[in-house]
Amino acid sequence: MPATLLSELLVGFGKAKQTDLVTGSSSAGIWRLGNINRAFANPRQVNESNAAWLGKGHEFATQLFKSHVEGGPHSMEKYTGSEFAAWLWSFGLGKVVKTGAGPFTYTCAPLVPASDGIEQPSFSYCEQMRPGANVVVDRLLVGCVVRSFEVNIARGPGLANSVSRLQFTHSGKTTEPSGITMPAETSENLLNAYSAAITILGEDYITLKTFESLTMGWDNAHRDGFYPGSGQQDAYQIQGRIELGDRVPNFSFIARLHKDSPELAAVRALTSGVATVALTKDANNSMTVTWHDMAFQSADFQDAEGITTVAVVGIPKYHSANGVVTAVVVTPVDGIAQ
């Protein structure tokens, strides 16, 4: 009985940004990193029927019409490494400054719509299973843009204590077969939670040994990109632009409660300040995320296996000079989002 194991799935995606939304990356622009995501990025073609049309004498479909390609969102999930962190914050926020000659430093910031526009850089996403004569899957999703992402740091041992997840929007354009020669897997430098340095509103949680978990991220809330003239592939409409909506940063964490815990007082006093989260493997591999004016929406006391904790939902505010967030990632890999 024929079968294809999911473990055969090869996923590569654009290390380099596409020149525009409709021009896919070549093999040279694709890289392959360790993959723990079990979901396919299915470019779903949608048909419409005439079921609701009048005059047929019944409510059932007799005819189908090609409509559009759903833009996802599709997902990716990875253990957080310096290589992927540089990619994630660059493509996720939209603006990056690359410096250095190896290791490379990527300083990432959100787009400023008035000057940068409202379109993030796009990338290609390739899935392959037995490409070639015995192909099962071989497709390149052209025009993908990071819709939302989060970085999760959690208590516990193992790689799973530092995970990054993202969702991306796809224009709908697909090249099949992909034409991509999948590269060897890039060796990654994982940023495990053991290295975390976390200071929020002046509280150094790592020194206090009180930190439990944290989730931080960003939602670009893309606008629908189907418009008159947006284009088609095989008579299915595709999106001709993928633009920012009303962006939403997110930041929440859980820490142990103690007599001097400042979180609830900060909620009541509307206190705000800098929050810095860093993961470091070594001098060549690190991620430092600075939220320039963090305030707390709520602080709830909870139980964590018998230990009392405080769960905080943050509201990253806009700092008049520095904006909302800056992520600085150091990694040995050149050319990310370039």
């Binding site: 400054v97 300083t107 910031a109 400023v112 000057s115 940068d116 320039h292 000079a321 520095n322």
Partner: protein, 63 residues
Amino acid sequence: MDKATLISPDGEIRDVAATMEELTPLLAAGWRQHLPPEGGVETEAGETLDPEEDVTDASDTAI
């Protein structure tokens, strides 16, 4: 100290230290990294000229 070349929304070009403290307010103000195309020539005014392009000013050769 690494340097980064940034360009403002108005076209001003500036070399700054590649530190978060230096870059952050500029990025938040709409500046972005300025990367001349490979092989291109950047003028003092910050314009990038194609190396294949004839850049001779017509006024220089006018009789």
